[in-house]
Symmetry: C4
Subunit: 204 residues, 4 copies
């Protein structure tokens, strides 16, 4: 399952580059290519945030499964739910890049993006519940109390994602910035040992 999930994460994160359009030669105005590229800043911004989000989710996904000993049907389908949201992410990214500076439609695009992020947070929490609901699925050294605390922390993240849907109708650019900040936050507040399930693994 890890190989398939890694594949989906790797492909979704790499497909984001298709959202970066090369300006057509006949559409480059008087300012030349430099100005045409600068004009595309919403694409780079959305690309960067979505790359960060998928990267963080992948790191956390890895961390989660380093605790897992057995995988049952519920975990398998909860995982498929998360992969559905991850693999769909290039679409709202392209949408937001296209409409970030489009007036009223920017709010719609930002709301779609934020809703996708909420769906990702919820899918991650559901997977986390599926994994920790049965102590028999986890490795022996995993502490169920710490696992439940991590779940509560993720729950708080989901409330933040919900708030960004509201923020979308106020300011689309700020919404995208907040998603970038939330991704950076998850870099630093994350589950414990990232690798191999060995207690002395994290030397950082």
């Amino acid at each position: 399952m890890q190989a398939f999930s890694d594949g989906v994460f790797a492909i979704a994160i790499t497909l984001l580059v298709l959202d970066l359009a090369v300006p057509a030669r006949d559409q480059v105005g008087a300012g030349g290519l430099g100005s045409a590229l600068a004009h595309q800043w919403p694409s780079y911004f959305a690309y960067l945030v979505s790359f960060l989000v998928i990267g963080i989710i992948w790191v956390n996904h890895h961390t989660m499964f380093s605790m897992v000993n057995l995988v049952d049907r519920s975990v398998l389908f909860a995982n498929l739910g998360l992969l559905l949201v991850v693999s769909a992410l290039p679409f709202p990214t392209r949408l937001l890049a296209e409409y970030l500076t489009a007036g009223a439609d920017a709010h719609i695009a930002a709301a779609v993006y934020s809703t996708t992020m909420l769906a990702m947070g919820v899918a991650y929490s559901v997977l986390w519940i599926a994994v920790t609901r049965d102590v028999g699925l986890l490795h022996k050294h995993v502490d169920p109390v710490a696992a439940r605390a991590a779940l509560r922390r993720f729950g708080l993240g989901n409330i933040a994602y919900l708030a960004t849907i509201g923020l979308s109708f106020v300011n689309a650019i700020a919404t995208l910035a907040v998603h970038g900040a939330l991704a950076l936050y998850y870099c630093f507040d994350q589950l414990a040992t990232p690798h191999a399930g060995r207690p002395d693994d994290d030397t950082g």
Copy 2:
């Protein structure tokens, strides 16, 4: 072989997102982006069903190969046949998304989609026959009688796929819904232990 197959499944499932088109700015009408996006519901519907289908096929593929001990040339090429259909799936998905509400052409698109599903079912059955035809290819603990019963069950699924080709000419939207329902059915009626070939693996 598993790594290559997992790769094809993961890429085909992730390439589906390229079928979701961002409405061009100058084609968004008076209703704004929201209405333009809502108008694209056939794309989301087709995306969801195809994602589910590839996901289920992948889970079943994994289950099948957890029973397999040795792989010979016949299995290799039967597997390539299944991958051919899986990797082609983004095409009928895009086709159906584009034509689902296009009057008479919707029937053609739905029939192409249903035929692809039938081809997938047949390719899966052929692979299943290739794998179970020789007891020496399977792990010791696999029961040949149960394996043959599973094959019969898949055969029934193929008759259902055949029926959806007929249904395509009656109602294209209903046809897509039936494919979604069939995929969900395969979630719950599936081969036994999903992982690692250990008898105590499924704790669900």
Copy 3:
């Protein structure tokens, strides 16, 4: 190296589906979608042949590396050369699909396709030389005499690919058919045991 190579094979084979274009709604003529799809037969034909070619190359690549014990720098770069041709294959495939029925330009497209196939055959032979040039790189049970015989067989295939470049200027459709036939030929005349390097592996 196998994981990276498998990835490139899997992606190249799956990207071929992007060469299958959905007819635009306003370009479907009086004959309806069915006739528009039928009109695209060169795309399906080229898709099928290229899928088969990459699939066969992958199987043979796997077979080759099941004999290899150590990988040095020369093998690594010879492998990169093969992957370059494999990953470029969607381009001549799309080209031939677009121009197969385009009169004089069909010959050019077929010649480009055939040249790519020749490049693939040569790259495969070079990799095979890199792998077998030093007995120390191979597993103990591999017979160097049989390995050299296989190389001669591949050399013959390259002459066939060279001939298809000439054939391209006679008949483009026949050229594509010959490439399909050559791929099928390689299905049945191939190196010995496909898996795991165990002598009793192939039960077919």
Copy 4:
């Protein structure tokens, strides 16, 4: 982590083929398809250089991680930084292919391409620092002095990349050629044993 990284490298290298456009039938002029294809030489040139660059980076990445025993959070995020640049590479490649012969805009495109290469070199050096900063992360047999010497060598490469940004404003085609030459240079001046961490691994 290796599986995810291999996936991103493999996908980025294979997505480059999407930058090779098939000339539209109605845009092929009096010279026919042959002349239209020849006219696209900047696409093939940029494709080749970018393929080589990603291929070399992948080989070096593999070499680096064959020395690594443990992976901590810093390494994980430094690696994500490198993957960000690698997965973005198809964009400047397409840009340079489109504008290589476009007069003044060619300089901009070449500068963007060179800046991406510099970012890749810096990201690689940062990852190298993250990996070698703590002797406890490396396998026992790795020599820290040699590791630091390799870092200095990479640092020199970054100065070369910086110089290509200046060269971009003189001659775009020469800039692309220099990037090809730098990639070839990295083929031959590279860290020691490429595989498996066994001292007798490199028989080349």
